[in-house]
Symmetry: C2
Subunit: 554 residues, 2 copies
Amino acid sequence: MADLFETHRALLTRAVEATAERGFWSAYPETPSGRIYGETAKQDGEAAFNARLGKPFALPGHPADRGTVGAETSPYGPALDIAYPAASVDALIAASAAAGKGWAAATVEQRVGVCLEILARLNRRSFEIGNAVMHTTGQAFVMAFQAGGPHAQDRALEAVAYAWAEMTRTPATVEWSKPQGKGDPLVLEKRYRIVPRGIALTIGCATFPTWNGYPGMFASLATGNTVIVKPHPTAILPLAITVEIGREVLAEQGFDPNVLLLAADAPGAENTKELATRPEVAIVDFTGSNAFAGWLRANLKDAALYTEEAGVNSIVVASTDDFAGMCANIAFSLSLYSGQMCTAPQDVFVPRGGIETDQGHKSFDEVAQGIAAAVDKLLADPARAIGVCGAIASPATVARVEAAAGLGRVVRPSLPIPGFDEARTATPLILAVDASETDTHLEERFGPIAFVVATDDVADAIARAAGAARARGAITAAAYATDDTTLDAAADAFAAAGVNLSCNLTGGIFVNQSAAFSDYHVTGANPAGNACLTDAAFVANRFRVATVRRPKAA
Amino acid sequence: MADLFETHRALLTRAVEATAERGFWSAYPETPSGRIYGETAKQDGEAAFNARLGKPFALPGHPADRGTVGAETSPYGPALDIAYPAASVDALIAASAAAGKGWAAATVEQRVGVCLEILARLNRRSFEIGNAVMHTTGQAFVMAFQAGGPHAQDRALEAVAYAWAEMTRTPATVEWSKPQGKGDPLVLEKRYRIVPRGIALTIGCATFPTWNGYPGMFASLATGNTVIVKPHPTAILPLAITVEIGREVLAEQGFDPNVLLLAADAPGAENTKELATRPEVAIVDFTGSNAFAGWLRANLKDAALYTEEAGVNSIVVASTDDFAGMCANIAFSLSLYSGQMCTAPQDVFVPRGGIETDQGHKSFDEVAQGIAAAVDKLLADPARAIGVCGAIASPATVARVEAAAGLGRVVRPSLPIPGFDEARTATPLILAVDASETDTHLEERFGPIAFVVATDDVADAIARAAGAARARGAITAAAYATDDTTLDAAADAFAAAGVNLSCNLTGGIFVNQSAAFSDYHVTGANPAGNACLTDAAFVANRFRVATVRRPKAA
């Protein structure tokens, strides 16, 4: 049997270094290129995806006492018509618990080796997973490939690297020798054993099933917990493929494949609450709404809970020396995946009296108009528009966009992307409001809905944006200013509100983007989430240390 | 102003190394000797303690809108009659929040320097604190000095070392440079800011106010949170002195002394629940009963909760090649501080058919009798007995001992220690029961109450002991066996139950003892507590990281 740990040791070592350095580093190439992934990778991935459609999804040995479930429909049109094994919560818990003993007894190297091999195989399947992500979430293909494939794999590797570092930061054995004056020292031999928590539940989301799901899943696996993956009922396939690959590696290495289980369910008949509150479930990772996270907080007893929730992300526009670049950058951030990213901005706070720019003074309306015009320009070509915006994951989002049009003065209407009639599409709706007149922009409105918000001045803009983050949560913030005083004030205010801040982005970096090994995604310090993907705190409490000590002759 | 960080940097560096090495290391000498602490340290400490009695305890600048409180009585007899400033929860929260801004803005070095200076001064005051611990908890003086002074300081230093390591494991700034094929790379400058959680509450216990209180308190302080110390109403003085010293150092360094507050209250009118559930309180450290910990779990919303609770600690006696040494070691563990340690064993599981020893076969009764006789021998001299057992902290414990006498066959009765009539004393009650007939030994019975429990065989003994740990919690376990097979089985069973195990202790190391920088006190993996004092997980989530990133010319 291959020693998977040795096979992947160099990658792990480099990943651990990268978590400490925090400069740019990526293990899995983000370019969907045949030169990297193989000449036929694109076609093979598409074919593999197409071969899944209209069939049962086989997971040999997986509990399936409830038959099958599956009701996924591509936001681009067709139903996927895939039937996943469905299991009762009792069966899932029993299988997971039974698999746990052998997994807990594995060495740290064995478990980490398995995780790294799973990631290697996931990477090779990135085109297939990209198609699966595209046709469950509505992401355009390139984003689905990148965020659902290599970027998600990077985030998973990051979690494995943190887990490895935490589990090996102290020796496995030590001789403890306490001097006793002139007498012989007291000597104990101590062995430190890594003890997992038990069963971990990963609750996936509808928009980034792998990117958001992998960190908790791999952190829990590496630290010896068994994992039940509960996908969102509209985005099962990417996680089902992941579970399939994981189970293959586990079985090959002699472990019970039920270390990794899929808890597929049907819309309206979700098993999430029943699963999460089972006493055997010791860890819950959740990505989704504040409301459900609140339910989990109120109803979990002893389980550790790691959440990424929703928030209201803001941009403060105080001044700029590149008005066109600023508008283009904001336009892209608003348009990318039609604002369905947890990192997408919703509110752009602009002083009521306008701002100074390289193009002279711009009134509030000119700023709003500038952003709207940049969106129009970005999305003028429908083929490009669909490549940026993708499709809308949920019909509820389209309805929300329609309803939102009355919430302010429409600067730019949301429109479908012409020529893609089967796809559910909506370009950004941009509304202008005045913070002195309404709070409507302070409510999270998921999807392509943005507010340009008039404030008294720059200080008011910063205070309102940071206040929204503190009260409603925020995962990102951006600020534009030509002076350091303003940027420093924004940095202080957003740091106090627990938000990561991007300043003066005008080029090829966007506030939405969060890079593994460098950016701490979600601070865990405001209502948008209680944990960060990924840092030491995200991993260190997923296992415990139990010591055995015994006297040793001095 | 002295650069406290530089003053103590070498100690910190050594402490960080020690947390990684986990061999024996201690920063603060445990011997209450004039050669170490100064010729007159003992008398000075006693005098300082005596000077506190019958007076108001002054904390300049501390909120005191409720006058004073204080009703401490020494378990050795006299009332302390000290009046501490009493503040409303509103006043405490307001003062703590107001102090928080400056403390959060301090550099990591400033905060860690302050913590280390507080510890240096606490160490010099170890005799005074030893007296304060003795006359609030009932510990004998040497234990009160050691556990309440240097050992508690070591635990605090350990927490500071972990905090330092976690806060500095990644760079404060980094240049992130992402290659763009033949084009210029995308370059961002990123600054990572340490953001505290807010207000931390440390809820002290009645028996080890400093040893159990310091880790959370110092971990929170070092990571930038303000701390409200809520002492147990019967053991305020040791923490009041600690707060006094802390406030002195804070004020000297230009910080608001209200970074560290004392929430003294009166028995029957505790402010704990009101404090813990205030939304401003982001961290709660608690040592005490499972019942109150359960209340906190049910009632805290977003605050991070770290608990050390109660459990049922067990010893498995399978065989021994040093029967006398085993009995003497167990006798000491049962007697030390009259079983009032969270690490004290309660149940000694022995096969019904007896065990093999270096003195030949010993029946169950002979094992029970051997332990009882060793207790008698240890405590034969009253002066030595009071030095080992100390006094009983709470009258409820004496009542519990009296009531427990009917729970089994009395192998050794509990008796007061003769000649110390003013002190509340009780030597160990030892009862014999059969596990096939009763579960009475599975209920935690705090104080000098021990059960020798007959089991079917060794495997049954291990299973019952580990089962008790899993169901009721346990902080320690011990096993005696001459064969590795039994010890390995015990190690597996107790590790799976999340308990630290000590094997074949016969000499000068006792199962009760937990050494800073080496032993992970409380695993956090069973109902005896959800956290460990101290590991990375205990510290890493007390702060968060907020990033500021901005483009940089390549």
